[in-house]
């Protein structure tokens, strides 16, 4: 089985939370062979939400998922910049009925990417 673990926290509290502890935990989990992909995210202020309705793409600032919308999956993509990320994300099929939040990954100090470590 594979599981996605989603981390929720108040950003104000996260700002003072030690990155080193997260990096150490991440490394231990990868050494166990249990971690497939993991990343920290930039704050929610960097989020961009995409929707496609009647073939028309709408791009808005912020995380604007409707309260009825639930997390249904995720893609970790590699893109040159936000414009390319928007272009790639706009092809994710459920964007036509729901929304896709695009949030940049935050590089933690002193941590390799999972793909590079394998």
């Amino acid at each position: 089985m594979r599981y996605l673990c989603l981390v929720y926290a108040e950003e104000g509290k996260l700002a003072g939370f030690p990155d080193e502890e997260c990096v150490a935990h991440d490394r231990a989990l990868r050494d166990n062979g249990r971690c497939l992909a993991s990343e920290a995210l930039q704050p929610v202020a960097t989020a961009t939400t995409l929707r496609l309705r009647n073939g028309q793409l709408s791009v808005t600032d912020g995380p604007f998922a409707e309260t009825k919308e639930q997390l249904a999956g995720f893609y970790m993509i590699e893109a040159r910049d936000l414009n390319e990320a928007i272009q790639l994300a706009s092809n994710i099929p459920p964007i036509r009925i729901g929304s896709v939040e695009v949030r940049p990954v935050r590089q933690l100090p002193g941590r390799q990417r999972a793909a590079d470590a394998v």
């Binding site: 930039q42 202020a45 709408s58 791009v59 600032d61 893109a79 414009n83 990320a85």
Partner: protein
Amino acid sequence: MTHSGSDTAAAIAAIYRDESRRVLATLIRLLGDFELAEEALQEAFAAAMSQWPVDGLPDKPRAWLVSTGRFKAIDGIRRRARFDETLAQAAIELETSVDDLPDPDERDVEDDHLRLIFTCCHPALSPDACVALTLREVCGLTTEEIAHAFLTTPSTLAQRIVRAKNKIRDAGIPYEIPAAADLPERLDSVLRVIYLVFNEGYSPSSGAAVTRRDLSAEAIRLGRLLAGLLPDPEVVGLLALMLLHESRRAARTSVNGEPILLNDQDRSRWDHALIAEGSDLVTTALRSGRIGPYSLQAAISAVHAAASDAAGTDWAQIAGLYDVLLRIAPNPVVELNRAVAIAMRDGPAAGLALVDELLARGELADYHLAHAARADFCRRLQRFEDARAACERALELARTEPERRFLRQQIDALP
């Protein structure tokens, strides 16, 4: 200071006014960072102030400012790099990337200017952030000036701009002119920002004054700049729309600041030079064959401008233009305006039926002008009690003091 020294100072001031935003736009591309580019711009002008009075003006002041700003920035990074290793790498990368660059030619400069506009108006930034950032970076207004225009504090405004720049950096919003496939959608977002700035100057969303002229002038300047850089029909249409609205400014408020409705305005006070320019641009935009919402709104405005009074207005043409506008850009406010035009063409009963249908759908239930229009139709139909009730509802919903005064007068004038 010698006579020629003060001449040089005046020349530098003129170059600052005319060129500083273009120099900034190029520096952002070369340095890859807004803050760094702004510091570099200030340092380049400081260097000009000390060197030009002695050495004379360079042949190409803009190129001089760009290369001076670029080297000042690299110097600054190198100085700071003594304390920070990652910066040392950044300085080396910057140096090698800009070392063999030719002086930017006119086309590069125009492209940089467009890059700056498209980045500041990126749809991934909130509309408020786009407006503040565009006025600061593209128009060169100070944060104090922008804060004053939007009735907020300089610190709130400065914070909004910092957040927007952080998002540009952290979310990876690129400094580029969108690819052809994305251009229409991205241009929409730029036009929306310019029109927001214009409207905040023309019909402020709140506050004591009916108009804040400086913002409208900035929006028109932006419209002219964009039309010069990218003569898309909708850019031309938006410029025409702004000029035609602006032409009525002197006639649309009374000496006491109350709004005067279009049909009641003294048309001799309209600015006929602006009307002529706006109407010519409408023709250009419509001739392109790609008709968008701004061009259509401008066309409607031009039909109003062509009439010597309300009775002589070609209401049938206006209603027809609203029909087309509704098809390409459905919007309840456009429906309301169409209802007003149809009331002029077919009589108030026809308009009332349309407004009542709109209000029943609920979309405009809290929009004071929908109730004000209903009041006007009822009054013309001699249904004075209904007119009074609608006017009172509009009064509850109106947000500016002159509009409230106007509505109170309407109520008092009812029999």
